[in-house]
Symmetry: C2
Subunit: 612 residues, 2 copies
């Protein structure tokens, strides 16, 4: 099958993405940085994810027929979660279909509710040249137009020359009352910033036009620090072995950020010099490593971070090569393992303690859990490990081309593969699918044991039974796909154990937080799932394997996409948002799960899969 790529253009943003055919519109939108809302978890039943193909629409699906009128279908409307891309197309995404946080950023910053008010702004000025009668200093003359600004010496050195070369006109670049640049001519149209979500496993960057908040490019990459340890604790341990190792980890992430900046600049056709501010949200360890702050105290009781408040730095201090006086904002931190990414999620979701009990679960290599209720906000972190991101799983991989992203089990198993290519591995969401099905079919016991052939239920359909075998290491394994007989995709006993650990850690964290707040899971009016992985799991399956409490009505579980990146974007566009982030970090109670006497018991208990 020829794997010709197709081009998808989103309106009104104009972002264009090139993908393999048969990718769902939902996923392509996510790749383009658009988080479309899917309250039903992408099952085609809620109709909230509607988008309009203005060209290149595929045939409507059955779900389209149920959720949309004939006129709508004829006009190109489709459900983004159900429709696939078959050819070059243009898709209009209405604001009403975007996840609320993006909608909020756009309306908060461009609409009636507020204005875009980034820390960085450019002002083109035309000054009257000095005369003997009016011989005020150049900078004074400039301040008459701009108000008082503090200028660094190297900018002062530029001002006089640029003014004289440019007939006393020029463009001032101001970041929070600091004059960070003075440019010849009118450059006010070139004013960009980049927001980063620095995850333990994945790093995502977003390039925004600071004048209007438009996203001009998005790029992502693996965090290269995974080569030194796939979770934060192993990286902290790595740094403790040699003083050079901290530097090495720092250089690794700086290299990736630089590469993402290159990629985004190239996509947007701008220069690195046009980027005047950077924002970073990451967990405490990731932020410390990025800043070159020693993480050793994070590896020892009581896991104390060096700083808690946001860092207002220069890109130069971080040794990131953008505009020479660009500012850099690093999100505030709540505790040793609840960092700026969690604060950014809180910012995006506007979680509020007096707004009905709300839980935010950010599922990544660390699982961060926030609970807002009864006037308080609690936050905790739990070491889920990278299983949900496909790491430490025998056939695990990220949700990219070749990954099985959906599994259905009836008498036998069928699955869909991202990019419609031969299956290479399992991503997090299909791991959850599969284990949920295998639990229900009785192939996995509630203790997490993958039953050997001789212990399988008698009524198990034969096609499923044939998939189970005992490997060379005496461990049971389940065959998913053998498109490539040399590299079959299987689920092993060890994989199930990894998933149990990951689920157990998050579930135990949820329980402890609920207990400390004195409420039950049934009292929760909303559960918000954040993180790249979370957007693709099916809620019923997450409940089946005990990742989320079964008592919560599925309709109260909402996906909020990469809320950390959205928070970083928002902080780039609004200094008020930064203030709010600081408020969140300060007022949130940091709960150290390991200090709760119940934690070990809850963790052991949560490792057991629910009965049904």
């Amino acid at each position: 099958m020829p794997k010709q790529q197709v081009r998808v253009t989103f309106q009104p943003s104009g972002r264009t993405i090139v993908v393999l055919p048969h990718t769902t519109a939902l996923e392509v939108a996510a790749q383009a940085g658009l988080t479309i809302q899917t309250p039903c978890g992408g099952s085609g039943t809620c109709g909230k994810c509607r988008v309009q193909f203005t060209s290149g629409a595929c045939e409507p699906t059955a779900s389209d027929g149920e959720q949309l009128s004939d006129d709508e279908i004829a006009a190109g409307w489709r459900l983004a979660c159900q429709t696939s891309i078959c050819e070059d197309c243009v898709i209009h995404v209405p604001e009403s279909s975007l996840f609320a946080s993006q909608h909020q950023i756009l309306t908060e910053t461009t609409g009636e509710k507020g204005e875009i008010a980034p820390a960085v702004r450019k002002v083109y000025v035309e000054l009257s040249p000095p005369t003997l009668q009016d011989d005020a200093a150049d900078l004074f003359r400039l301040e008459e137009k701009l108000g008082a600004v503090k200028a660094s010496l190297s900018v002062i050195r530029d001002v006089s020359r640029v003014l004289r070369e440019g007939d006393f006109c020029g463009t001032a670049v101001i970041a929070d009352h600091h004059l960070i640049g003075f440019e010849k001519g009118d450059t006010s149209e070139r004013c960009y910033g980049a927001a980063f979500d620095v995850g333990t496993t994945t790093v995502v960057g977003s390039l925004l036009d600071l004048r209007n908040g438009d996203e001009r490019a998005i790029a992502s990459a693996m965090n290269p620090q995974v080569n030194f340890g796939d979770d934060v604790l192993s990286r902290i341990e790595f740094t403790s072995k040699s003083s050079a190792n901290l530097h090495q980890l720092r250089q690794a992430i700086l290299g990736t950020i630089s590469q993402l900046i290159d990629e985004m600049c190239s996509k947007a056709g701008i220069s690195r010099e046009d980027i005047y501010e950077l924002t970073f949200a990451g967990n405490t360890t990731m932020e410390h490593l990025l800043c070159g702050i020693d993480v050793a105290p994070l590896g020892q009781v009581p896991f104390t971070p060096a700083h808690a408040r946001a860092l207002a730095l220069s890109a130069e201090e971080l040794t990131i090569d953008v505009h020479s006086h660009a500012a850099a904002y690093v999100f505030p931190i709540i505790g040793g393992f609840v960092g700026g990414d969690t604060v950014a999620c809180m910012l995006t979701t506007r979680i509020a303690p007096d707004d009905g009990a709300t839980m935010l679960v950010d599922i990544g290599t660390n699982g961060e859990i926030v609970l807002a209720c009864n006037g308080e906000i609690y936050a905790a972190s739990t070491a889920a490990g990278p299983a949900f991101e496909g790491a430490r799983i025998s056939c695990g991989m990220r949700a990219t081309s070749g990954a099985i992203d959906k599994i259905i089990v009836n008498d036998d198993l069928s699955c869909s593969v991202i990019g419609n290519v031969p299956a290479v591995g399992l991503c997090g969401s299909s791991m959850v699918d599969l284990c949920s099905h295998l639990l229900t079919a009785g192939i996995i016991s509630t203790t997490g044991r993958l039953l050997p052939p001789d212990e399988l239920p008698d009524d198990l359909p034969e096609p499923l039974r044939r998939r189970i075998s005992v490997a060379d290491d005496d461990q049971t394994q389940f065959l998913i796909v053998d498109d490539n007989p040399d590299r079959p995709v299987t689920l092993t006993q060890r994989d199930v154990r990894e998933l149990q650990l990951a689920c157990g850690a998050i579930r135990a964290g949820i329980r402890i937080l609920l207990k400390q707040a004195g409420i039950e899971s049934g009292d929760l009016s909303r559960v918000l799932l954040a993180g790249g992985f979370a957007s693709f799991i099916r809620r019923s399956h997450a409940q089946r394997i005990g990742l989320l409490p079964g008592e919560i009505d599925r309709g109260r579980i909402r996906y909020v996409g990469n809320a950390s990146l959205n928070g970083a974007r928002w902080a780039l566009l609004s200094t008020k948002a930064r203030q709010r982030a600081e408020d969140y970090a300060r007022r949130t109670r940091h709960v150290e799960l390991s200090q709760d006497p119940d934690f070990q018991m809850q963790f052991a208990d949560a490792m057991i899969f629910p009965d049904s």
Copy 2:
């Protein structure tokens, strides 16, 4: 004659200076940074400069006998302007004998009137180590003790390590709400700053203990930029020849400042790392060159400086190697040729526009003139040239060992030499002495002509007549000393012309300023003479040659010493003083002398020496 050096210790400061015997106590005090008041110009007639030798007093002079009681003389009291140092000694300088500005600094900052409130302070803190119950971030814990501070990244990187190495104790270094350092143990006793007067010809530094304002060392050197031009205009022109030249001038002054810092650290027995702040007062060109700011606009009409407000920089931006996060304050500027040194003088003298008409004349390579009267402050600059500092004079030199510092002319000429060594040259004050005497004796005409032997007055005493000859270049010259026949010290016609230009420039400036303010010189209630040179000139002689208006009663002329350095010291010790400096710079009217239609005529007129 053996030129063994003697050691002079001043009390209560404890400063020790090593000098050649026979230097006057006044001069040694000046070398030690103590400006003793000499309202009579050092003639031994006012008795204000009294100091007490607690050991090593010389025999009393006739002036001592007139101004002091026998009991006082027996107790070691002497007039500092008259007594010489003959052996190792200890001199107590009462505050009442210090020039008011130093007195002010000391009392303003340590006495009842106020407190020392420098921008930099050190705070030793003992923190409770974090626990699982109290796991706040290290920096947060520190801020609970210090209040909110902004820390640069490299300091944040240090804090956690230093806290852990030092049992959660350490010393915070805070500069204006910035945490610029965190040091192991209690280092609060080591907290120094250095103030600099960066003159066109001379650079002086003063090392202060920021805890109490004590001066720990003083050092001075020639400004090495004189090799590239001996006044500001020639240096500006030099930079215009090649873009590398600005860098070269900057490196030259930075090298000297570094050398002065070394010298002062060595004298005080401290490390460069113990210096946390620097202040600089200099004229506009000197400040710009120090900062590496292009001075080309200062060389072209309308002579616009790059900035006017004070610069709050880091020593690192200036590339001066003291504490790695030391702050650097550069005085505000009034105009292209009225700079931070003038503001510093205004600060020191507390010149006020509603306090009786007061004129401040800072005599250096540039002459800066400030006039405060009728609610206004005017300031102007006039290019005196370096004649008063001994440059461009055939036998000119600075007022150091070997310089003739005093000349008396009766039937013949007699003079005293600094250090009581063979005379090498003339310093500024003796130039003024000599020309004043030669004018009165009719050897120099009012037009400044040094009369040839055949035109001399008939009644001129023979010993004086013999000193006059015609040199190889047909110019008349006057022999002062021929201790060394190979290098006689003479005054040439060209020297007299240089002095005429220097006097004329200052005198014309004074006239224009008075005219603009609408007052006469007789209306002045005070004339303050600032500058290293000014402290040593005799007022009657300055009036005789027309440097100062003859109409002013001599008693209203006061010496204020190196007021620029004192201003820089004060700014180092008090942020309030900086605010006052900023106020001075903003409210002062900059008068561009060359723009006054009368200036050229006044200048030509002022070049003519007064009749008597």
